[in-house]
């Protein structure tokens, strides 16, 4: 548990499952004055509208790190993906498998949105097998088109809009990931399950 200024606490835990458990517990029973909950890879930032107290820190320390209650179903999103990304061959080479086998694996995984944060609507999708954990590109691209599906480290992700980026691009989707006129605005939010379906 780390203090983070006079309005927030940063809880550090071991892994994504513990992050999900802490996030779920604080959504069910927020701290008094809780205004923001920011899950990440190994931390959950809890922002309050007041100075945190020792009681808040103690409550966070007591939170279960495995979710005892079955997680409420937050839904399944299916993304139609054309697997023609410029880095698919590179990813296949790193995995020592043919590209078709990489695509087959990617389309059988049920991913879970672990956390967001890179841009509005971006979700870090957890669930990749170790052999598809690939490093970021050594030189990031200055322009990655919206809808690009990429891999980096143990995550997959979809660029919600055009931006610079260093993920290895394996495909693209037409799905609109973020739209302020939609409720909810983000297609992907922490806890949502995601499947990639191959289209040509």
């Amino acid at each position: 548990m780390f203090p983070c200024g006079d309005r927030a606490l940063l809880a550090e835990v071991a892994d994504l499952d513990a992050v999900a458990a802490v996030r779920a517990a604080l959504r069910r029973a927020p701290l008094p004055g809780q205004v923001e909950l920011v899950p990440a890879a190994r931390t959950v930032l809890v922002v309050l509208d007041r100075a945190p107290t020792e009681t808040d820190a103690a409550r966070l320390r007591r939170l279960p790190l495995t979710d005892p209650a079955p997680a409420p179903d937050t839904g399944l999103v299916e993304l139609s993906v054309v697997f023609d990304g410029p880095d698919l061959a590179e990813v296949a080479a790193l995995a020592r498998r043919p590209p078709s086998s990489v695509v087959e694996t990617l389309t059988t995984i049920e991913f879970t949105v672990a956390f967001g944060g890179f841009a509005p609507g971006f979700g870090y999708l957890a669930g990749l097998p170790p052999e598809l954990s690939v490093p970021r590109r050594t030189t990031p691209r200055t322009r990655v088109p919206a809808g690009s599906v990429g891999l980096a480290g143990s995550f997959a992700g979809v660029y919600p809009r055009e931006s610079p980026g260093g993920w290895q691009l394996v495909g693209r989707t037409d799905a609109v990931l973020f739209d302020v006129h939609r409720d909810p605005p983000a297609l992907l939010a922490p806890g949502i399950r995601v499947r990639l379906r191959e289209v040509r």
């Binding site: 200024g5 920011v38 890879a41 509005p120 939010a189």
Partner: protein, 283 residues
């Protein structure tokens, strides 16, 4: 209705931002100097949720479409109405057709123009703020923009002029230790809180890039990205700290050495490129 005749170097609509959306990657945004924004609203009897115009480095000129009660606060600028000097930090009536003009601040960076009823551009995710990082909210103001005036006023304003402490010539920002102090070399905290820092030109509503002594890392492994707060002082690999303001990214992947206290964020938002200041440890 207020018609923008000239926006100055940068003018945006701002309110208290969009808290609650960070988990889908949307930062809070909102007025960089919350104290000055709040004062401007109070001077014209607005509700706290009303939006104002955040004017960066002065230069804004607007025309009133009807009789309007307005107030200008924040970085002190010469205010004039139809060429005649008008008060600052005080409510001010514009008659229909009158032109309000803001000069350049001699000190400070951001001034706030409140209009009774609030600037009523369409809200996006519950806020009228321009988020310069993700492009949410209205675009920056340009000449010819017509800003509707809303109905977010509470009681009658009852203050003639607000006593406001002048911006300090030698600013000091109070800081608390950040969550990753141990990722920096042992002397980093002492350097941060004892040396003078200056604001570089590579600074905006996202954050201030600082120049001063180089802050070295103690750990060189990669920190997984984690949630950020406004006021966080993050140290990238080049050793030059960044002090985040309203439009900070939701998460960051470099260690946060210190966090500026909430009351002092308003002062941080008034620092301009070239300004020198110090951090003072409060714990």
């Amino acid at each position: 209705m207020l018609t923008v005749l000239a926006p100055g170097p940068l003018a945006t609509v701002q309110d208290l931002g969009r808290p609650g959306w960070a988990s889908i990657g949307v930062t809070t945004s909102g007025a960089a100097d919350r104290a000055a924004h709040g004062l401007a609203n109070r001077l014209v009897g607005n509700e706290p949720a009303a939006a104002t115009v955040e004017v960066t480095a002065g230069g804004l000129r607007v025309r009133a479409g009807r009789t309007l009660l307005v107030a200008v606060t924040g970085a002190p600028v010469p205010v004039s109405v139809d060429g005649r000097a008008a008060p600052f930090d005080a409510p001010l009536t514009l008659s229909a057709g009158a032109e309000l003009s803001l000069g350049r601040p001699a000190i400070g960076l951001r001034s706030y123009l409140a209009v009774r009823g609030g600037v009523d551009v369409p809200p996006v995710l519950g806020s009228r703020s321009t988020d310069s990082l993700s492009g949410l909210g209205p675009p920056r103001l340009t000449a010819g923009d017509r800003l509707p005036v809303g109905t977010l006023s509470a009681g009658e304003p009852f203050v003639d002029v607000a006593p406001v402490r002048p911006l300090p010539a030698r600013p000091v920002l109070r800081v608390l230790p950040g969550p990753r102090r141990d990722w920096l070399a042992q002397e980093a905290w002492a350097l941060l809180t004892s040396q003078e820092w200056s604001v570089t030109s590579d600074s905006d509503r996202v954050g201030l890039r600082l120049a001063g002594p180089r802050l070295d890392r103690a750990r060189h492994d990669e920190l997984p990205s984690e949630g950020l707060v406004p006021g966080a002082v993050q140290v990238p690999p080049d050793g030059a700290p960044v002090l985040f303001l309203s439009d900070h990214p939701v998460t960051g992947g470099y260690p946060v050495l210190a966090v500026v206290t909430t009351p002092d964020l308003s002062l941080a938002a008034q620092l301009r490129p070239g300004d020198s200041f110090r951090f003072r440890a409060v714990r």
